[in-house]
């Protein structure tokens, strides 16, 4: 038996031929609204998350464009200062809590995790549905608060200002607290699924790398989110009733707030970016047609980032007056995150090296992703250096840095995942040409938006300011022009993907000829994922070439 012929799961393949007609895809198995709203099928829940996450991405994106338009001129442009404060707060809140944290885990994680583990569903399907409704309830509460008063503290809610501002803090914070529950529930569900639902043959070190990334992400979600939950409630209660927990006038310590806030919010960065790393590990192997280079190193580095990420939070507070020793320690630990990320980058590049690259849209996004990760990551190392951070702190350099690594990498991975798994999820193909055009537009637009911001920050323009000196205008106009290009790219994607949903040609079972476990079933998959008996998985994931054969010519 050759390695390639043994890829197909024995059991699943013969069984699907005979039962094919009796097992409709999950998309059409029940067509009532009720069958969607009360479904416990992880694939349908993933799709519903996709709908809401994209909607909130649109909302956050509109806020982003409003900010960029406001910053076109040095003085007031389209809104007053208070509206501007609210706009950047809402942009941050919506993008972080409603888009980026659930974007990849709740959508693609939900959809792919059971497929990649050969399971029929996640461990707790009803909790999975509950997490969607908790998320929506929290989102409604937060959005209601935003529309009725609109928070102006920035997404970081720093005390003592957040305890005293007259804008509506409490509903927004309670909303974010509730959304946190959704994140925790998803995390618990995924961890238990990885532990108990793996099919015969899928040992820990045969789990696809996306699953490893989701596992590491879930650990952060479970361990970090409760702390911010408590903190948000404390601040909300303080804002309502003045219990004085973080009020310096009553002995409270605002620094304590910052420590607790970043204890969650720094690992939260890895909640956003680790799933992105996982997606890219899948995409790079599939489109280089090569086994992933250094599987264990990539898997362990996900856990390493999750672990070290918990001990780096102090680098957000270098100018807050913490001790020099603490700042030095946090700086050194921050570098460790860079080491683990670099391990991943080297392995991805090593995977592409001498691969038979199929330059499709997901791979285009992989290229953009690599660029944003490397440059966003390296500016992160620079910012983690205490002496440099003192100059750059709270300037546009920081804004550009975290948009590169956290947003750039995540958006690239989100779009790569959307294109790579689009045929799996909907059974149809998108237009490859438009895919590449829009990928180019988005990557260019993203650079055009944020490279000027690096320069602005380096020249000393502080973040969150409503007005700025004349000399910063040229770069601000460039940034706004880049943002428009970015928006244009997204509009093209929305158009051709919507078109493909209805008119796209049928994808077939595995249009990419990918060796990922999720492609062993039909596209789109039937309701319980596999027809017939439990499939078994004799091969490694990402198995394109027998490593022994592949390595001989290269052996040095």
């Amino acid at each position: 038996m050759t390695p390639s012929s043994s890829i197909a799961a024995p059991g699943a393949t013969p069984a699907h031929e005979e039962h094919h007609d009796h097992h409709p895809s999950y998309l059409v198995d029940g067509t009532t609204i009720r069958s969607w709203l009360l479904t416990v099928d992880h694939k349908r829940i993933g799709l519903m998350f996709l709908f809401w996450v994209l909607l909130f991405f649109l909302v956050g994106g509109i806020f982003a464009l409003l900010i960029r338009v406001e910053l076109l001129t040095p003085g007031p442009t389209i809104m007053d200062a208070m509206t501007y404060n609210r706009t950047f707060t809402l942009h941050g809140l919506v993008m972080i809590f409603l888009f980026m944290i659930p974007a990849i885990p709740a959508v693609f994680g939900n959809f792919m995790l059971p497929l990649m583990l050969g399971a029929k569903d996640v461990a707790f399907p009803r909790l999975n549905l509950l997490s969607l409704y908790i998320y929506l309830f929290g989102a409604v509460l937060a959005l209601w608060g935003m529309l009725n008063g609109g928070l102006d503290t920035g997404w970081t809610f720093y005390t003592p200002y957040s305890a005293h501002t007259t804008t509506t803090v409490a509903p927004v914070l309670f909303g974010a607290f509730i959304i946190g529950f959704s994140s925790i529930v998803t995390g618990i569900n995924f961890i238990v699924t990885c532990h108990t639902m793996r099919a015969p043959g899928i040992t820990w070190f045969k789990m696809p790398l996306f699953v490893w990334a989701l596992y590491a992400t879930s650990c952060i979600q479970v361990l970090a989110t409760p702390v911010i939950g408590l903190l948000l409630v404390l601040v909300a209660v303080e804002n309502i009733s003045g219990i004085g927990m973080f009020d310096p006038a009553r002995g409270g310590d605002p620094m304590l707030f910052q420590h607790l806030f970043w204890f969650y919010s720094h690992p939260a960065v890895y909640i956003m970016v680790l799933p992105a790393f996982g997606v890219m590990s899948e995409v790079v192997a599939a489109f280089s047609r090569k086994n992933i280079f250094g599987y264990r190193a990539v898997a362990y580095s996900s856990l390493g980032i999750a672990f070290v990420g918990f001990f780096a939070w102090g680098h957000h507070m270098f100018v807050s007056g913490q001790s020099t020793f603490a700042a030095g320690m946090f700086g050194a630990l921050t570098m460790l995150v860079g080491v683990f990320t670099a391990i991943k980058v080297f392995n991805w590049v090593g995977t592409v090296y001498k691969g038979a690259v199929d330059f499709k849209t997901p791979f285009a996004y992989f290229c953009g992703f690599l660029f944003f990760t490397v440059f966003g990551g390296m500016t992160g190392i620079a910012l983690g250096t205490v002496s440099l951070d003192v100059a750059w702190h709270d300037t546009y350099f920081v804004v550009a840095h975290f948009h590169f690594i956290m947003v750039g990498a995540t958006i690239m991975a989100f779009l790569a995942a959307l294109h790579y798994w689009f045929p799996k999820m909907f059974g149809r193909m998108y237009h490859e040409g438009w895919g590449l055009v829009s990928a180019a537009l988005i990557i260019l637009g993203f650079n055009a938006t944020f490279i000027p911001q690096f320069l602005l920050g380096n020249n000393g323009m502080p973040r969150r300011y409503y007005e700025y000196p004349e000399r910063f205008q040229a770069l601000n106009v460039a940034s706004t022009a880049g943002a428009s290009l970015l928006a244009f790219g997204f509009i093209i994607i929305a158009m051709y993907l919507t078109y493909a949903l209805v008119y796209g040609r049928a994808a077939g079972k595995n249009p990419w000829r990918s060796k990922g476990y999720e492609w062993l079933t039909e596209s789109p998959p039937p309701t319980h994922n596999f027809v017939g008996p439990q499939p078994t998985y004799p091969e490694e994931p990402h198995f394109y070439v027998d490593p022994k054969k592949a390595e001989v010519p290269d052996a040095v």
Binding site: I188, T196, V222, L223, P226, M245, R250, D253, H259
Partner: protein, 221 residues
């Protein structure tokens, strides 16, 4: 073979195996693992408060000591004993559930709930005393006896942590009531079907454990 399975099933009804699990053991293992992870999140929730406590105690050691003396140590100790005993009865409920003695399960859970009520009643008396003398959080503080900076902060931590713990007591009572009603109405707990009681009991132990931390932190400074 088939008949022996069905008779064993009649004596101790097996819970429904959800379609996506390989076996009942896996299903129960998943439920327990999920509960342990949930308990980890609860511990981290309180850990944030413990950090606040530690920082402010370090900043205001005198106010912390004086405020701690103003609590009623007797009531606190009684409450600790009550809660630890209730953990014993909760554990016994699991023991009887494994043996299929559904009446005993209901009795043990009822005893647990009774002690939980006792705990809350005592807590109510402590709270009302504080409202009376004015040892209250933040700007509501009006107690003349302790005029140290940081004393209102102690009571912010005190009220927030005990109220959050009290909320967990109420949730734990609701969860245990669920099992008790099932033990009385369906009476189907047995060697293969006790996960529900076990999970409720695990949650109750956590509530107890949090109090075991809160008691020395707040009363024994």
């Amino acid at each position: 073979m088939q008949s022996s399975v069905s008779t064993a099933g009649a004596a101790a009804p097996v819970p429904r195996l959800a379609m996506h699990f390989a076996s009942l053991e896996v299903q129960n293992h998943a439920a327990r693992l999920g509960m342990w992870l949930f308990l980890a999140t609860e511990i981290l929730l309180f850990a944030g408060l413990f950090v606040c406590y530690g920082v402010y105690r370090f900043l205001f050691p005198d106010a912390w000591a004086a405020s701690s003396r103003s609590l009623d140590l007797t009531l606190g100790t009684v409450n600790t004993v009550v809660l630890i005993t209730s953990s014993l009865t909760a554990a016994l409920a699991v023991h009887y559930a494994k043996e299929g003695k559904n009446k005993a399960v209901a009795v043990q859970i009822a005893l647990t709930l009774l002690m939980a009520c006792g705990f809350l009643v005592i807590k109510y008396f402590e709270y009302s005393h504080k409202f009376h003398i004015g040892t209250l959080p933040g700007r509501y503080y009006f107690y003349e006896g302790i005029q140290l900076p940081g004393a209102p902060l102690y009571f912010t931590v005190y009220f927030f942590s005990t109220a959050l713990h009290g909320l967990h007591v109420l949730i734990g009572m609701a969860v245990l009531t669920f099992s008790m009603v099932r033990a009385l109405k369906k009476a189907d707990f047995g060697p293969n079907n006790y996960t529900m009681v076990e999970l409720g009991s695990m949650y109750w132990h956590l509530v107890d454990l949090v109090w075991i931390f809160l008691f020395p932190m707040l009363y024994l400074v």
